[in-house]
């Protein structure tokens, strides 16, 4: 059976992803197994863009010509035993989560986008709200099957193959050896999804995680799982000022609470929610926000018993009051319906931003949301919030700030009203990137670089460092075919 077909107009949706970039392609395939992927790569010389469920925000799955290798039919769960699941890379997170729940298990990082596929999550080292406690997906991946661009297959398990210093050797299933040395650049010490992951004596599985499909096609994963916590509770606290909210985040991090998630909503986010709730019937189900509060922090805790949970909640209540909040105006979620209710509230902010942009695009078709994905070290949290706030107010732009404040990783969403504001926002974004990199932060903490943020990666790494990344790519993908245009400019995309 011929796995490769000519690309037809009926499949035009597959030229886009959530970044709203659009590309073009000559052919497409929908493999069902690792062997199919190997055969496809052996039978074409075209450049190949790997595609999962296209939920990425950085254009990684958008093809710039050549072949689309779409893995969405690789959705099998191959085994589940000893708290380890072995699955194909096209499996959706939502389907995995549903399956695991029946066995009382879960995959801890919990990315917000539930329709993302596992392969894509591994390729960009995805994170979620619970990354604060459990880290990104990287440490939970304990095995990968990767097909190289020449069709060779590598099966690699965590803890089995390490670099010796910076020297490494990878061995494919057929016995082919790939030996060389790793680059020696420093990675930022924050939540990070930008650039190839490199460390002295590193576990070589980590080279593929976060490589955004530039080194090989991830076709299967083995993931380590945890038993679902016996008790999950979430508190949404409101504060009169941003400073009070930041103080609460700071004191919670310094306490022994070890929250699973700490998420932030700024004044503009809350105001936008209040307005939409009042004027748009689609948002009537939002909880009514308490008045005279201008920032909110969502904190989720996982406990092994009710006693432990109640002790943590009592401690959180004290911290809220210490920071100027009021536990009478603090929402608590304990039951599944409470969580459904809160989930709706948490997802409403980005949804309303997208709706607003869609409305404005009718007049200015070139507009898109300008969403940042930068993170800084703990000691720069107050500074980075101050930086955003000062610049945005000075520029008189419309914006909201929300997101993973526990990891010092908030998303600034600039909502331009016209083309001039769009350009102004882009310029600010570049300025902030420079400052954040100088503070030891990252330009992308969870979305990846894709095609959209190549210029930002250049701020984090020197030209020599980037050339070193490209050297590793050439070593594993000698014909420069895989995901060309992602991460760095190389081959035809240069």
């Amino acid at each position: 059976m011929d796995l490769i077909t000519i690309f037809s107009d009926k499949e035009n949706d597959l030229l886009k992803d959530e970044s709203r970039m659009s590309g073009y392609a000559q052919s497409i395939s929908f493999p069902r197994s690792t062997e199919d992927v190997s055969q496809i790569l052996k039978s074409t010389d075209q450049k190949v863009t790997i595609q999962g469920n296209r939920t990425g925000l950085a254009g990684g799955a958008v093809p710039y010509g050549g072949h689309i290798l779409n893995i969405t039919r690789m959705t099998k769960i191959l085994s589940l035993e000893d708290n380890i699941v072995h699955c194909q890379a096209g499996l959706l997170l939502s389907d995995l989560t549903k399956h695991l729940k029946e066995f009382g298990l879960f995959l801890p990082p919990d990315p917000t986008e539930k329709s993302a596929c596992l392969g894509g999550m591994a390729a960009c080292n995805a994170s979620g709200a619970r990354t604060l406690r459990y880290g990104p997906i990287r440490p939970w991946i304990i095995g990968l099957t990767v097909v190289m661009s020449d069709g060779e297959i590598i099966e690699i398990n965590r803890g089995e193959q390490f670099a010796s210093g910076y020297d490494f050797t990878l061995i494919t299933k057929s016995g082919k050896k790939i030996s060389s040395s790793l680059p020696k650049y420093e990675m930022p010490n924050v939540k990070n999804a930008a650039g190839l992951y490199i460390h002295k004596d590193m576990d070589l599985i980590d080279l593929f995680i976060g490589s955004e499909g530039t080194l090989g096609v991830i076709t299967e994963l083995k993931l380590k799982l945890l038993s679902l916590p016996r008790r999950i509770a979430a508190v949404t606290s409101f504060f009169a000022t941003e400073k009070s909210a930041l103080d609460f985040v700071d004191s919670t991090r310094k306490s022994n609470i070890n929250p699973a998630a700490l998420e932030y909503f700024d004044e503009n986010s809350l105001e936008m929610l209040r307005t939409e709730r009042q004027n748009n019937p689609s948002f009537i189900d939002l909880q009514e926000l308490p008045e005279n509060y201008y920032s909110a922090v969502y904190i989720e805790i996982h406990a092994s018993s009710k006693q432990e949970q109640d002790k943590m909640l009592s401690k959180i209540s004290d911290l809220i009051v210490d920071c100027g909040g009021n536990s009478s105006h603090t929402w608590l979620a304990i039951t599944p319906s409470d969580f459904d209710n809160l989930q709706y509230f948490r997802h409403a902010t980005p949804e309303i931003v997208n709706l607003t942009i869609d409305r404005r695009r009718k007049e200015y078709p070139g507009l898109t949301k300008l969403g940042t994905d930068m993170a800084v070290p703990d000691n720069k949290l107050y500074d980075v919030m101050n930086l955003y706030r000062t610049d945005l107010e000075k520029a008189n732009l419309e914006y909201v700030i929300f997101g993973h404040i526990g990891d010092n990783h908030v998303h600034v969403n600039i909502i331009p009203r016209n083309d001039a504001e769009y350009e102004l926002g882009k310029a600010l974004y570049l300025d902030w990137s420079r400052q954040i990199v100088s503070w030891g932060g990252t330009v992308s903490a969870e979305h990846g670089i894709g095609k959209f943020k190549i210029n930002f990666l250049k701020m984090m790494y020197s030209e020599d460092d980037l050339n070193e990344m490209i050297r590793v790519k050439k070593l594993l993908d000698s014909k420069l075919r895989l995901n060309i245009g992602n991460l760095f400019e190389v081959g035809e995309a240069k």
Partner: protein, 262 residues
């Protein structure tokens, strides 16, 4: 106003599965929740309390394990929570349940009794109206909202059906079965949760009530479940092609032939 709200602990609905051999519900390892429609009923009571003042008693009939779930109503603002639990009540159908609950409610003071429209496990929607008959008071179903009137004996009930909303002048005491209102139920506050941690759920057993033994539990239940089964899902499909009118006439033909029901 004295309000009694009836709630039931049910399996989280999306997880209910049937054992294919015994055709009984698989309950092991499944989380129980307050029946979502009962949450709407409780939320309606809480909003009345917030606006006009009220005393809210929540009552549930179920197994002793339901106590934790029932306790949650304190953090939402209920004044008293009662669990009616006894081995003699096990296996009750809707009629026996209505009789047992109504007997317990008779021992309470009430102006208004609120229930969810139906439970998500049994889906019968019978307990509310049956209780009203046993208590010999009026009942209304599908209520989404109520408004007070100047006369404390009457309220205006908003009865929401798929086609319209009826505004019904309702004499109290009455039983109302409740659907979702304009908004989702309010969340508890952290303070109310922490302040009510030590509140007790009152336990009632058959010993506390005057009950006719022949009307309770399995032996007092006239309903006989002959068979419970999972309907077979047919995946046959017929694709109709052509212009819109060709497709429409082809569809009518197929429907007449029962062609889609194979």
């Amino acid at each position: 106003m004295k309000i009694v709200v009836c709630i039931k602990a049910v399996p989280a609905s999306t997880e209910v599965r049937l054992n294919p051999e015994t055709n009984t519900l698989i309950r092991s390892g499944i989380e129980n929740i307050i029946n979502p429609f009962d949450n709407y009923a409780l939320d309606l009571a809480l909003r009345i309390k917030e606006k006009h003042g009220a005393h809210i008693t929540v009552i549930s009939m179920g197994i002793p394990d339901a106590k934790d779930i029932i306790h949650h109503v304190y953090s939402l603002g209920a004044d008293k929570a009662i669990l009616l639990t006894d081995r003699l009540l096990a296996g009750a159908d809707t009629l026996a349940t209505s009789y047992s609950l109504a007997s317990a409610i008779k021992t309470l003071e009430y102006d208004l009794i609120l229930c969810g429209k139906q439970s998500t496990d049994g889906d019968t929607a019978q307990v509310g109206p049956e209780m009203a008959e046993i208590l010999d008071i009026p009942h209304l179903t599908y209520i989404s909202k109520i408004k007070m009137t100047e006369d404390p004996q009457y309220i205006i009930s908003h009865r929401r059906t798929t086609e319209k909303t009826q505004f019904i002048y309702t004499r109290l005491p009455a039983v109302l079965t409740v659907v979702k209102g304009d908004t989702l139920p309010q969340l508890p506050t952290l303070k109310s949760y922490l302040n009510t941690l030590n509140n007790e759920v009152e336990i009632l057993t058959t010993k506390n009530l005057e009950l006719d033994d022949e009307r309770i539990g399995l032996s007092g239940s006239p309903t006989q479940v002959v068979k419970v089964f999972t309907p077979k899902v047919h995946k046959d499909k017929t694709i109709i092609e052509g212009t819109a009118s060709e497709k429409a006439s082809q569809l009518i033909k197929l429907l007449n032939l029962g062609g889609l029901q194979k």
